[in-house]
């Protein structure tokens, strides 16, 4: 025993509570973005106040309210599909393609089985097929990442276009509905195999239940399971995770597969809940908007839920914009982009000082 005094420098990390800053960022984004978008609308020669008033009054309508929830269910799943891989440090930009493949897989099963098997069973089979299809499509990108180091952001993006071409190829030829008019599409799904509606005559379907179940599942898995913990470690510092004996490759693969399965489920909800047949342009950027929802929510599952409702409301506003103000619905992408820019730019600013 020596009595040498060792002075330990006080280097304990300070716990920084930047929650207030985050909340502030959200407020600025949500309040500031409409101002900027309003300026663009005004330049276009449309009164921004009437645009916002139209958007808000249209949301107060219960029919529109249901439509927002229908859309939010798909966006929530699409957002979770980004959030889970993001926890492991992976960028899944391929939600759009995984949704399409999910819908195609569901449609494939549905078209074969919906006349022969009871509706409930068909629905279960379609859910499984959609999730497997989405997972496989995301798994392609994960496999490329792990074997030949192709960045998953690039590969998932490129696979989106391939997925859409696969769907178009199917509905223009082998799956084409011979009795359909105008746009080529697949045969509509039998009534019994569709997602059940909450109210007869309404539009709100059981998809929202599936989405909420997925939300709770993802939230619990990330928070309470070893798998969720490991994902976070890998996402935070993969080298540390590797040295701690975690098998980083399989973890990354699992995160991507789960993400893809969630996106596939989103495809099923949209197909069996709203569209009932495959048609060109049916996914209307759900994958990309889900990507933005996840970033808006900083990849936290519960916040993804909030972001999904917010973005769904904005998008529904886009439809009323098209009807009332004569602006293309895609104009609302500007509003979404501005919200995202403010959030992306404001939240990381303090951390940059290193």
């Amino acid at each position: 025993m020596t009595d040498t005094q060792v002075t330990v420098p006080d280097v304990r990390p300070q716990i920084v509570d930047n929650r207030q800053k985050q909340v502030l960022g959200w407020v600025v984004a949500v309040a500031g973005a409409p101002v900027i978008f309003g300026a663009f609308v005004a330049v276009k020669g449309v009164n921004p106040f009437t645009v916002y008033a139209d958007m808000l009054t249209s949301l107060a309508d219960p029919v529109q309210g249901q439509a927002v929830l229908v859309r939010a269910a798909v966006l929530l799943l699409a957002g979770l599909a980004v959030a889970v891989p993001a926890r492991a440090g992976l960028l899944n930009v391929g939600g759009e393609g995984q949704i399409v493949i999910g819908a195609v897989s569901a449609a494939g099963v549905g078209l074969i089985a919906d006349q022969r098997l009871p509706g409930g069973l068909v629905l279960v089979l379609m859910v499984l097929a959609a999730m497997a299809g989405g997972a496989a499509w995301a798994g392609l990108a994960a496999g490329l990442r792990l074997t030949v180091k192709v960045n998953e952001a690039i590969s998932t993006l490129l696979l989106n276009f391939v997925a859409i071409d696969i769907m178009l190829g199917l509905i223009y030829d082998p799956w084409k509905d011979a009795s359909g008019f105008g746009q080529p599409s697949s045969r509509p799904l039998a009534d019994t195999a569709r997602l059940p509606l909450f109210t007869t005559g309404g539009t709100l379907n059981a998809g929202i239940v599936l989405a909420l179940l997925a939300l709770v599942g993802v939230w619990a898995a990330l928070r309470y399971t070893t798998w969720g913990f490991r994902l976070r470690v890998v996402g935070g510092n993969p080298e540390a995770a590797r040295r701690a004996g975690m098998r980083v490759g399989p973890l990354l693969l699992s995160a991507m597969l789960v993400g893809g399965a969630l996106a596939g489920l989103a495809g099923l909800v949209h197909f069996a809940g709203t569209e009932f047949k495959l048609r060109p342009g049916m996914t209307t950027n759900f994958g990309y908007i889900g990507f933005l929802a996840s970033w808006l929510a900083m990849h936290r599952p519960l916040r993804v839920g909030l972001a999904a409702v917010l973005l769904a409301a904005i998008a529904m506003g886009g439809d009323s914009l098209q009807i009332d103000a004569g602006l293309p619905a895609a104009s609302l992408n500007v509003l979404m982009a501005v919200v995202l820019l403010v959030v992306l730019g404001s939240r990381l600013a303090p951390r940059r000082k290193s």
Binding site: F40, L91, P238, V248, N333, A337, L344, L348
Partner: protein, 304 residues
């Protein structure tokens, strides 16, 4: 001859991608990846089309289109450099911004007619059998791109200026030790890249399609981003890659015009599949060729 038709179509259709890929090469050499390339192309395409429609001069269109592309790229680089935002996510948001703005302001120009760029056959050179029609019977923007690619190569690899740009991409700390500002270099490189990308978009609307419609780039910006990696961040290799994609785009209409019945979507998917295949094949070399500071952005996690 179908081969000549497809090759000439490849040069014509690949030019827009080439401009975007050259712009992206410049930005990525300085260490910033811009997935918003597609947005810059759309901005360039619409602005060029609108200005051409209003003034009657496609050259005025190209200049303003380039500026519009640069403006969107400026949003990207500001967010990344000044605000420390994630490059890949910001790029996608910029793409949405460009797509939304062009949809909003472009609706009035759908179906408007313009006086587009006319192809100009270069005397003597265009008479060379085979090569002539493929390379020397095009619009002026194609000829400009013939000069631009070697010029960018010379600037990046043979000039002092290029050394500074590559320094910002490889080792920004060393660059600032020599008294240069990596941030300033990155601003200039990304905005300059946006200029070139805007010209690419302008070529699409005022020389290739001679029309404007919503989302008319249909993934060409993404192909350009992939092409930069495919070309291992080298401007001259990007030329070959761009024409390859252009040829893939030209093959489908050429075959259909000759009455070959087949499912065109298989061919439509080809450029994307070729890019993925190229990324796989070139995987190893690609890693070594990437600007050092840029690979930090790419390789968030090790592979195993």
């Amino acid at each position: 001859m179908i081969v000549i038709e497809v090759l000439a179509g490849g040069v014509r259709g690949g030019t827009a991608i080439l401009y975007a890929a050259l712009g992206e090469t410049l930005a990525e050499r300085a260490g910033i990846i811009n997935l918003g390339t597609e947005g810059s192309m759309l901005a360039g395409a619409l602005t060029a089309y609108a200005i051409t429609a209003e003034t009657g001069s496609p050259w005025a269109g190209v200049v303003t289109g380039a500026l519009a592309g640069a403006l969107l790229a400026a949003v990207h680089v500001f967010m990344v450099v000044a605000r420390g935002a994630n490059q890949l996510a910001t790029g996608l948001v910029v793409l949405f911004l460009g797509g939304g703005l062009t949809a909003m302001f472009g609706a009035a120009y759908v179906g408007r007619s313009i006086t587009p760029f006319r192809p100009y056959a270069i005397p003597l050179l265009s008479d060379i059998p085979g090569l002539g029609p493929v390379l020397f019977d095009h619009d002026p923007l194609v000829y400009l791109s013939y000069l631009l690619a070697p010029a960018l190569w010379w600037l990046l690899f043979r000039s002092r200026w290029g050394l500074i740009v590559r320094g910002a991409g490889e080792h920004p700390a060393a660059l600032s030790a020599y008294g240069h500002s990596p941030k300033l270099v990155r601003y200039l490189a990304v905005i300059g890249g946006g200029l070139l990308t805007g010209i690419g978009g302008a070529h699409l609307s005022t020389a290739y399609a001679n029309a404007w419609f919503e989302n008319m780039t249909t993934g060409r910006g993404f192909i350009a981003v992939a092409l930069v990696i495919f070309a291992a961040w080298h401007p001259l290799r990007a030329v070959g890659g761009a024409y390859l994609f252009g040829a893939a785009l030209a093959l489908s209409p050429a075959l259909q015009a000759r009455g070959y019945g087949f499912n065109q979507f298989v061919l439509d998917a080809l450029p994307y599949l070729v890019t993925i295949a190229a990324l796989i094949v070139l995987g190893r070399r690609r890693i070594n060729a990437a600007p050092e500071d840029l690979s930090r952005v790419f390789d968030l996690t090790p592979s195993r």
